[in-house]
Amino acid sequence: MLESLRRILALIRKELLATLKDPRGRFVLFAPPVIQCVIFGYVASYDLNDVPYAVIDRDRGGASHEILARLDGTGVFHRVANLTDEGELKAYIDDRRALLVLVIGPDFEREIQSGRSAALQVVADGRNSNTAGTALGYVGAVVEDFNADWRTAHGAAQAPLSLIDRVWYNPNLETRWNFIPSLVGTLTMLQTLLLTTLSIAREREQGTFDQLLVTPFRPGEIMVGMAVPSVLIGAGQATTILLVAQLWFRIPFAGSYLTLYSGLLLFLLAAVGIGLLLSSIAATMQQATLYTFVLMMPFMLLSGLTTPIANMPVAVQYFTRINPLRYAIDIAQRVYLEGVGFGRLGADLWPLAALALVTLPLAAWTFRRRLT
């Protein structure tokens, strides 16, 4: 038992040395996650802060002036042109000079004064309908403000109905807050898979595997010795990303580290199990890289990172249940932003534990079978 432990420790030490000693290896392990994390943080956002728009104002009254001034005052909208006819409108949208074109009819002011509703027409470039929808939402909010103030100023009755919205856990609706904690799972999984499959493929390709097998190592010990360093390095990467999130982006951490790391551990074990399974079909390092990538794409896309799982067809939603990344992202976001404890994470922890309990023994079995 002690002997076995010593051997495993030696293997772990060797594996860590081999991975971390090479400056190129260190670079590949830690630089891309940080770079990606920072870029993601700035880029991966559905929030808009620059919406170019054009306007056709046929009224030129006080109300239209006020609305446009409010739009320009947001700092988000900037007017690129004042147009006069509809033909120009098409040109501005077509060649992307403007995301929105506002059309204000000649009777705008008069309609408002007479107590009727005046229509503010907005034409949006729907080539990216998500962006367009968000921009339209911003316009709606500005108009709503205008309405409320107008009523107060003109002594009109208070609006019969007002909507008060509050967003939990992310009051300013910053996409970054959601994205960066999810990266703890995503980037870590990519690297962990790659590391596990590559370390075995490398042993095979360089012929050191045979050398290992003629030593007193048992297959189980080799498996553990390969799995533990990947988990450790994965945890190291997760920590790096957490640090970037807190120190660079200053996203407040609401939960407990114990909960987060326990969840991550289960996740890493499941990921390493998948990596070990994958390594049994990858004969060369090239194949290890490519297969990892082929596997990682669906895992990433079906994790809820870029598009919500709730939007997926039911059959695909079932598939996402075997996707460890889905649970990891959920755990990371909820522990990080909501501060939930173990009690509320059952739905995420159990599937991860089950995945680890299936993939690891299965990997051990295929590993042993390949040897004999």
Binding site: D94, D125, T289, M312
Partner: protein, 382 residues
């Protein structure tokens, strides 16, 4: 005359060498299961995922409506939510219960109608509270918008019945050009083409020259009449064809399976795609010849082509909203221009004022990168 014969002889010899190298590459592609996995299997998986599984549109979002007031007005408001295709509504009485559901993430939002709703509606100043889970900011924003929409519709219905609650002095009437159905597939599927072209063009080719260096196959190849440009052409042509197959697969499935309209001409689309493919190939080959190691080449390629194609191309995230340094970087990335071209050709049509400048930039990049690749590959050992 004599000179032209000599030239054509030289040219035929060149063609033969390129042809031989192309066939060699084709055999290798066909025989390596991992190349097939990236070149064919992954695109198919991606097409299916992007077409069927991924969507940014909010539909049937689970929503708790807490009716503390049981007046007809409140019930009418609640039924307005039930009628909306955007929500799957659970009506309940207690706020605590609804909050619990939100903590469990059983619902994405809670709409609270207070018990004095009907009374204050008459007096003015009635409130409807909306609580949204911010776990996904984009989704949260869309849900708030839809809740507002549902409430506004209810107000319009009431107005039509002659009761007060008019819509307000200014109403926004929006029209979404190019994507009237407000369907996110319209931009996800063209975006998918960028990803697949990048994968086949750059990721796969970044491995191929490095592999030859690592396996030592180039040394013998160099000591033949073969020229550097021929080796590069021999690598480019097969992957170009593989890319075209992927492209055809994407365009056909976009148009006929996912019913994304193709408003521009298919020829223009094919032409600009070929341009982008050339850029990606040249980039992959350049990295591969410069680095000479498969592992490092694949990592660099992922970092400089695939991640940017996904994040910095404007396919998912709006480029104009990015900080200036990142925006500057995005100008150096070919994917940005290709995304602009694809979105325009698919959804807007042949808008030459968009197509010509973007295509010109891609052509310039292809030329520059090919030149770099040619300069960096020497028939010399280090």
């Amino acid at each position: 005359m004599k000179r032209s014969i000599a030239f054509s002889l030289r040219f035929t010899a060149k063609l033969r060498r390129v042809r031989a190298l192309v066939w060699k590459e084709v055999h290798q592609i066909v025989r390596d299961p991992s190349t097939i996995a990236i070149g064919v299997v992954l695109p198919v998986i991606l097409i299916v995922l992007f077409g069927y599984a991924l969507s940014l549109d909010v539909k049937h979002a689970p929503l708790a409506v807490v009716l503390e007031d049981r007046s007809p007005a409140a019930t009418a408001l609640a039924s307005g939510f039930e009628l909306s295709p955007y929500f799957r509504v659970r009506i309940m009485r207690s706020m605590a219960q609804a909050q619990e559901l939100m903590l469990q993430r059983e619902v994405d939002g809670v709409v609270r109608v207070r018990e004095d709703f009907a009374r204050r509606l008459g007096q003015g100043g009635a409130e409807v509270q909306i609580l949204v889970h911010g776990g996904d900011a984009n989704r949260a924003r869309i849900i708030i918008g839809y809740v507002r929409g549902a409430v506004a519709q209810w107000a319009v219905r009431r107005g039509a019945e002659g009761r007060s609650a008019e819509a307000g002095p200014v109403v926004v009437v929006d029209r979404l050009w190019f994507n009237e159905a407000n369907d996110s597939h319209y931009f996800l599927v063209p975006g998918l083409i960028v990803l697949i072209m990048t994968l086949i063009g750059a990721f796969l080719t970044s491995l191929v020259i490095a592999r030859e260096w690592e396996r030592g196959t180039l040394e013998a190849l160099f000591v033949t009449p073969v020229r550097v440009d021929e080796i590069l052409l021999g690598k480019t042509i097969p992957y170009f064809v593989l890319g075209l197959i992927g492209l055809a697969l994407c365009i056909v499935s976009a148009k006929y399976v996912f019913l994304v309209p193709l408003r521009g001409s298919a020829w223009v689309l094919a032409a600009v795609s070929m341009l982008y493919l050339l850029v990606a190939l040249a980039l992959g080959l350049y990295i591969s010849s410069a680095v000479k190691s498969q592992f490092v080449a694949s990592q660099i390629t992922l970092l400089v082509t695939f991640m940017p194609a996904m994040l910095l191309s404007g396919f998912l995230f709006d480029l104009r909203s990015m900080p200036a340094p990142v925006r500057l970087i995005s100008y150096m990335l070919p994917a940005r221009y290709y995304v602009a071209l694809l979105q325009t050709i698919f959804l807007a049509g042949d808008v030459w004022s968009v197509i010509l400048p973007n295509a010109a930039i891609l052509a310039g990049m292809a030329a520059l990168l090919s030149l770099l690749g040619w300069r960096v590959t020497h028939k010399q050992l280090a």
